[in-house]
């Protein structure tokens, strides 16, 4: 198990750190958080609250000067508490406020100094040592000005000199960096452990499959065969029960394998918003009706292997989508104009793959057209806008279009990537589905 560092270890012992309710409690290290939900980071809430309480008690209970000092301290407290929600911006503002306050008014308590030290350490943890040092400069300037202008302030006297405070603040900054590095390392180890756990579960799932499901399926089939051949009613009933139970166990094993493999449930949950498959289906149904009214009957399918609501992405997504729809319309237009009437006049499949859309259309070539083998004649068939124009546009978008003849059948193939090469999502090479 990865080792926890510093206050995170204490939080872990007190069970207020990473829990199922707060799985992301560690992950702020180096993430430069601008806004966070404080309820998802109870450790930080606890740390900030504890120091804020110290400062509040000090401000209200211990005599610390006139009313202006109290106002300065309370404003500082409010800014300090906002670190729980706006970690980085508030830290920077607190540092600047502290610096200005130190230059203008004596700070009699050590509460602000403790809060400031924590703020700087957390800033380094959340961002980097560089930003921490930059924020520390005005703080140190403020401390030195405070030491020069108000030498009688209690924390200044108690800690003897500004150089000592400087050393302590730098120590805090270093502590923040060490904590950050350890947290990042721990996150990596946790991820690695989770990945290994998943691999182990997948391996177990595979072992179960290899050893159990094949044999269960065989038992089911053998019992079905025995049921067919068996004349005795009692034996028939016995085989029926064996078949039923083996199928039931097989279903149960499938469920276990799914659970172990962490397979997601349905790709298309019930009630999901209309995806590209539905929209394309609608479009092709309209064309199917028009073709059937003209006596041309065939088969059209839209097969969605992608599942995304909007597969096209990038700046030219709308252009690609328009090109695809225009190509589909062009294909149907050509079917309308050039296909023979009757059944099985055409066959079209639109496949939404992971990275591109493909269209395949096939139809028997009418006899009068079979004389032409020239691709240019095919591309320049009258009707629609011409396949040549579409091919040019498709190729300009990184797609492919080909037309030809195969065994007396006209074949059209089109492939359109969802995004251009600059916008294409990277695919993890070894991802296995």
């Amino acid at each position: 198990m990865a080792q926890l560092a510093g206050l995170n270890r204490l939080a872990h012992i007190l069970r207020i750190d990473e829990t199922p309710e707060f799985p992301d409690n560690h992950h702020l290290a180096g993430t430069k958080p601008i806004v966070i939900n404080p309820l998802r980071h109870p450790t930080r809430l606890w740390q900030v609250g504890a120091l804020a309480m110290v400062q509040l008690i000090e401000t209200l209970v211990m005599p610390s000067g006139d009313t202006s000092n109290m106002i300065v301290a309370l404003i500082f407290l409010a800014l300090y508490l906002s670190i729980c929600v706006f970690p980085v911006p508030s830290s920077v503002i607190v540092a600047l406020y502290f610096s200005v306050a130190c230059c203008l008014t004596p700070l009699h308590g050590s509460g602000e100094l403790l809060c400031m030290a924590y703020t700087l350490g957390t800033l380094v943890y959340d961002t980097s040592m560089r930003l921490g040092l930059v924020a520390a400069v005005p703080v140190l300037v403020g401390i030195y000005v405070q030491a020069w202008r108000f030498p009688d302030t209690s924390w200044n006297l108690a800690l003897n000199s500004a150089p000592v405070l400087t050393f302590l603040l730098l120590l805090i900054l270093n502590f923040g960096q060490v904590n950050r590095n350890r947290s990042k390392l721990m996150e990596l180890r946790l991820r690695d452990e989770r990945a290994q756990d998943l691999m182990h579960r997948v391996k177990v799932a595979r072992m179960i499959h290899d050893s159990v499901t094949g044999d269960l399926a065989n038992i089911a089939r053998v019992s079905q065969r025995q049921m067919r051949q068996c004349g005795d009613p009692e034996q028939h009933e016995a085989w029926r029960q064996i078949n039923e139970q083996s199928v039931r166990v097989l279903d149960g094993v499938h469920a276990v394998i799914r659970q172990l493999s962490a397979e997601t449930a349905e790709k298309h949950p019930d009630g999901a918003h209309e995806g590209p498959q539905e929209r394309l289906n609608e479009r092709v149904r309209v064309w199917e009706r028009r073709l059937s009214e003209s006596g041309i009957y065939g088969d059209v399918r839209v097969i969605d292997h992608n599942g995304a609501p909007t597969p096209f992405s990038g700046k030219d997504a709308s252009v690609r989508q328009s090109c695809m729809l225009a190509m589909i319309d062009e294909t149907f237009t050509n079917i309308m104009r050039h296909s023979v009437r009757g059944e099985n006049a055409y066959n079209m499949v639109i496949t939404l793959g992971e990275r591109h859309l493909e269209l395949v259309e096939m139809n028997p070539i009418p006899d009068e057209r079979k004389t032409s083998d020239d691709i240019d004649d095919i591309l320049d068939l009258p009707g629609g806008n011409g396949l040549r124009l579409h091919r040019e546009e498709i190729e300009s978008l990184g797609g492919v279009m080909s037309v030809g003849e195969e065994d007396g059948t006209w074949v059209l193939y089109m492939r359109m990537p969802y995004a251009g090469p600059d916008n294409a999502e990277g695919r993890t090479p070894f991802r296995r589905r």
Partner: protein
């Protein structure tokens, strides 16, 4: 009655082949299992040869060595004539999409004889079995046009790349394919060169992308 629907079966489970053959021929008057094999490469070869080509190939999806998906893809890339029915002892969802992308016409579970026979008959008549599948001819056009890699690599190079993509070591591949490790390396290098890759890992990544 003339058994006009010829069927080929490929499965590496030694119990399945004879029992499936017997069940199919018992449950139908019009089907005949003309060959069975546990070798994916042999099944591909039989389907590509006119003399041994069945009307429908029944292919197990989870075979070791040459996977059922690879068998589908190799056949479908080259011809659109054999109907391919995928079968699995896993739940069907697990392989349905992959089988469809690889050019199969349907998928069935291994536990129901009657369903297998009905599915074979449907595919033999030019249909598909289940949602998300296309007919053999359109699948053939799609796969043929998808990538040049499929047409360029030899069968052995196919097998070696599939095995690398499955994470097998050179020694394991050599034992599975019954060749020497040096021969495995040679096939791998030739495949790398044909794919235009600079390293084995790049070749595997390109291979996986081409199979997507």
């Amino acid at each position: 009655m003339n058994r006009e629907i010829t069927v080929g079966i490929v499965d590496n489970d030694r119990f399945v082949l004879p029992s499936l053959k017997a069940s199919i021929e018992e449950l139908s008057d019009d089907m005949q299992v003309i060959w069975t094999t546990s070798d994916g490469g042999q099944a591909v070869s039989n389907c590509l040869t006119a003399a041994t080509r069945p009307k429908v190939l029944l292919a197990d999806m989870s075979m070791e060595g040459v996977s059922g998906i690879s068998v589908c893809r190799r056949i479908r890339t080259r011809i659109g004539k054999v109907g391919i029915l995928a079968m699995t002892a896993y739940s069907i969802d697990r392989y349905a999409e992959k089988a469809s992308l690889a050019g199969a016409q349907g998928i069935v579970g291994k536990s129901d004889d009657q369903q297998i026979v009905t599915a074979i008959r449907t595919i033999a008549s030019g249909g598909t079995w289940g949602d998300g599948f296309e007919i053999a001819l359109t699948a053939h056009v799609r796969l043929k046009n998808q990538t040049s890699a499929n047409a360029v690599l030899t069968d052995r190079e196919f097998e070696v790349m599939d095995s690398f993509a499955a994470g097998m070591s050179i020694q394991a591949i050599a034992e599975t394919l019954n060749i020497t490790p040096e021969t495995v390396k040679k096939h791998g290098q030739r495949a790398m060169h044909k794919l235009g890759a600079n390293s084995r890992w790049q070749a595997v990544a390109m291979w996986l992308n081409s199979q997507a």
